[in-house]
Amino acid sequence: MGQRTPLYDRHVRMGGKIIDFAGWEMPIHYGSQIEEHHAVRRAAGMFDVSHMTVVDLTGDRARAFLRKLLANNIDRVQAPGKALYSCMLDEQGGVIDDVIVYFVREDFFRLVANAGTRDKDLAWLRQQARPFDVDVRPRPELAMIAVQGPTARGLVLDLLETNLRTTAALLEPFFAVLEAENGEWFVSRTGYTGEDGFEIILPVADAVQLWDRLAERGVRPIGLGARDTLRLEAGMNLYGSDMSEATTPLESGLGWTVGWEPPDRDFIGRAALEKQRAAGVPAKLVALVLEGKGVLRNHQTVMTAAGAGEITSGSFSPTLGRSIARARIPAAATGERCEVEIRGRLEPARIVKLPFVRRGEIMVSL
């Protein structure tokens, strides 16, 4: 039997179809993945993301540790609550994981990582933190709920305790607030869907109550299936599919997350990335729209004038009504045209700019 989040019983009771996900028993959908997808784009949906890895990093040298650990520059984050998206690299520049780090205090940063990478992430963090005397504390006793969609913020704010509500209402995108007075609620204006909303890290007992109260207000529970199509439309990378230890951020559409400046910040993987940049990055991650009918799937071959590539994440896009994908193709490929081998046939596809969908609006021409 896999691990269960504190909301497992709620998922079963609400009709969730349970699957194994990275060792967790999680809902893939609650009846219709497509309806759930539309609910998030048009109103609001809630996701149980308690399986994700929340780690608190504390100590006087926490920032110095993150300067070394992260490919992105933690010094860009100075205001309390500010969040930073970054890859955590190995010495070869391979992506160990992609994480969000929140600045709480100078001696306290909170890191949120993926579920499937938990053990290796913790081992790596502990190993790298030792010389900095930083305490690495996973927080499995906390639950995490994401509420996303155009009406999500208002619905969540209504349910927050007065002080927290006032502060949370003023949060800019990619900022968080920690309310330690009333049971340690951590509210961040972040998400994984291309919609506005909050992610809330909170004690287990409060999580069950929040889930129920959101449901009473008509917020739909959303399974992992729609979470994947929403993030694909939003143009966000998925660890293990779009990037991994076998690829660098430069080959994974994440060059923008690498903090090259200042040149003397010696982060793990920097030398390897500089070497790759100097030699020429061989591949790039692009976005595809399938011209005709059919569905793009992971690992299908993509043919370009500059050579073959591979789909890293493919699915049907409910918002576009077409199939979309991310694909790793030769860096030398230019232009929009390519072909994807689907079940033995070459089907025309188009290389487009990300995101496919932002705040409910289709951003690519069809």
Binding site: H29, Q33, T229, G294, R297, S315, F316, S323
Partner: protein, 130 residues
């Protein structure tokens, strides 16, 4: 609990078959299969006149989650593929035994050996779930 109509035959790969008295048959995927696959987004049916061997892949149903082959339960010639599914693949979810049918076959062998009746398919699903 899946809907398993008593008047149909079933395969271990979750196709259903409605045998008509004139030697033709209608084929689709079962309620259990559509439920397992989830929301359908694309269905590919065979061309009229195509000759199928028993067990041959003859259609593709694609849900958001995965693409799955559909196999011909018996040998025969395709009389018609359900063209309406090109624009309404969700019919396979909503009405798997009705408007969500996939193809009609003129059977070259009218002996439905190896197919399960509703009771046997019910027992088969129960054994698969264990």
């Amino acid at each position: 609990m899946s809907n398993i109509p008593a008047d149909l035959k079933y395969t271990r790969s979750h196709e259903w078959l409605r045998l008509n008295t004139d030697g033709t048959a209608v084929i689709g995927i079962t309620d259990h299969a559509q439920d397992q696959l989830g929301d359908m987004v694309y269905v590919e049916v065979p061309d009229t006149g195509r000759s199928l061997a028993a067990g041959e892949a003859c259609a593709v149903v694609e849900s958001v989650k995965a693409a799955s082959d559909v196999y011909a339960p018996l040998a025969g010639e395709v009389l018609e593929g359900n063209a309406s599914l090109a624009d309404a693949p969700e019919a396979v979810n909503q009405d798997p035994y009705g408007s969500g049918w996939l193809l009609k076959l003129k059977l070259s062998d009218d002996n439905p050996a190896g197919l399960m009746d509703a009771a046997a398919y019910t027992a088969f699903l129960a054994s698969e779930e264990q």
